[in-house]
Symmetry: C2
Subunit: 329 residues, 2 copies
């Protein structure tokens, strides 16, 4: 499953040299849920930590059909060709474990990028294990940084819990939308609109141009009614077409402006530190929950208590107490 | 601390008779963090559970200065006088433990309501204990229902975590705002706009009327850009003046419409069941966390690990692992 084994030092050397094959294997090792791989993972991470943190981390979300894959292909290629960047693409896709289709599973959707020397496209893992791979997404990002990728694009689907996870690990969060005056909001989870740093209206080309420009105007007005972000950054709305490569420069300029502002105020660094500390506590809560919920017979007991609660026979507090302190049951 | 002691049956009888003195004492007992009170609390709750669930639970939020207390005084009095309701007022105010001022601490701010036979105003507890009183807010609500109050107004401040707690225990969530085209959003936490079922622009009186009507128009437009709620309810924007008692009937009509819609679709009941089950799991996570974080020496150890994470010396995953599995340290 892990493939050829290297020593920790070999992994580290390969990653620091930007060797994509070694990077891929190091990621597989870090993602491994086999306890035997824990020690070597830890060693690799420890050695690589001083080489991390130098990228700009960009989350990209939007409903299915908005053109995320095409956008990433187009934007990534633009960053490599026009801006001399090295670009890594990761995916947070909790749905893939249910075989609902991995966003990056089909590599052919990023034909240009996946064969580009300066790009690294990591398909979404297909054997997701709660608390396993999902828990390591930040560590995968760190490995990519150590390998010298200076822009990390993290793709998410716009419909689940994954946005909160991604928001908690990126510097800048981009929402792709389509023209249609709110129709395309159908698939977006509530709360996402208020966590984005920028909205780009994609597919602004041909017959669609006029509708896109109109949507841009309306969204700009709507954004006035969103509470200001802690970053003091005021989200903008631009239009783009990933298909014909228009508007990408404006998005990149916006990201640069955002970085300038938040680096000068200290927010950029502060956010990263807070994200990491928060993630550490999430890890602890995840681990505590797993210990509790995975106990023998717990699933059935929970099911019984949930039924009592739903039937209004006991209060939530009483239900929790019965599960947590079975002696008082 | 608990005052005069009754038998569980006496508490139950008093509550079911709508005796406000007994109700107040039963609440104090339920809120007690003294383990010795647990058994009698449980008995009381068990006996009262069949008499709960018949109220409409309304959460009310908004920034300080928006006029929440005056609104509740005015709206509560309207419901009693015009609609023949019995109204209970509760507060979720995590800030009161820090002596930042309890929202309902000053009862004189609800002079009419607090002396009205058909109203019960429960001041926010002043000795809040994490996981204690806060954990019991749903149980307090259930006691008020058992006492025959058919509208429960739950006040929150618009600036903290309390909105999520309140959203998780009410049927309908009302946001009070002021005219001023977004200026008054300064104090509202991101995400709150997307969890409300209705927005009422308060202080629509005198010179302020024109500005309020303009704000109403703009907010209505802005709401088109909020993703639709699971309830399929489309939030509305109305204007009101709690001071001169205008627009209260429109708000109540909206709440009735909301109830009709969501009861006919089954969402009303489904939401309550989900809230309760979710709350039960929150209780478990709270209890697990307290057990873990309250261990001797844990606070200092966490502090050390957090510093390592902030300095970029270890990853969040490694930090969590060091705390959770100290043997692998």
């Amino acid at each position: 499953m892990i493939g050829k084994r290297f020593s920790p030092e070999e992994y580290v050397k390969g990653v620091l040299n930007g060797d994509k094959v070694v990077l891929g294997r190091a990621i597989t090792l870090i993602e491994s849920i086999n306890p035997a791989d824990q020690d070597i993972s830890d060693k690799i991470l420890n050695l690589l930590m001083p080489h991390t943190g130098k990228s700009i981390r960009i989350g990209i979300t939007g409903v299915p059909g908005v053109g995320k894959s095409t956008f990433i292909e187009s934007f990534g290629t633009y960053l490599i060709k026009e801006k001399g960047k090295k670009v890594a693409v990761l995916a947070i896709d909790p749905s893939s474990q249910l075989s609902k289709g991995s966003i990056l599973g089909d590599k052919t959707r990023m034909e240009q990028l996946s064969v580009n020397d300066k790009a690294f496209v990591r398909p979404s893992p297909t054997n997701l294990n709660l608390g396993g791979v999902a828990a390591k997404s930040r560590e995968v990002l760190l490995l990519c940084e150590a390998a010298g990728f200076d822009v990390i694009l993290i793709e998410t689907v716009g419909v689940g819990q994954s946005e909160t996870t991604v928001k908690g690990m990126v510097d800048f969060f981009l929402l792709l939308m389509l023209a249609g005056a709110g129709d395309d909001l159908q698939g977006i989870k509530r709360g996402i609109m208020e966590m984005v740093d920028h909205i780009a209206i994609n597919k602004t080309d041909g017959d669609n141009t006029k509708a896109s420009k109109e949507a841009q105007k309306q969204l700009k007005n709507a954004l006035h009614f969103f509470p200001p972000a802690q970053s003091t950054w005021q989200p903008k709305v631009t239009t783009c077409s990933a298909l014909i490569g228009v508007g990408l420069d404006q998005i990149w300029k916006t990201i640069e402006d955002y970085c300038s502002l938040t680096k000068s105020t200290g927010y950029f660094e502060k956010q990263r530190k807070n994200q990491n500390v928060k993630r550490m506590h999430e890890f602890i809560i995840d681990a505590l929950s797993r210990d509790f919920y995975d106990k023998d017979g717990m699933a059935q007991k929970i099911n019984e208590i949930e039924e009592l609660i739903k039937a209004g026979k006991i209060s939530p507090y009483q239900g929790g107490n019965m599960l947590f302190n079975p002696k008082s049951d």
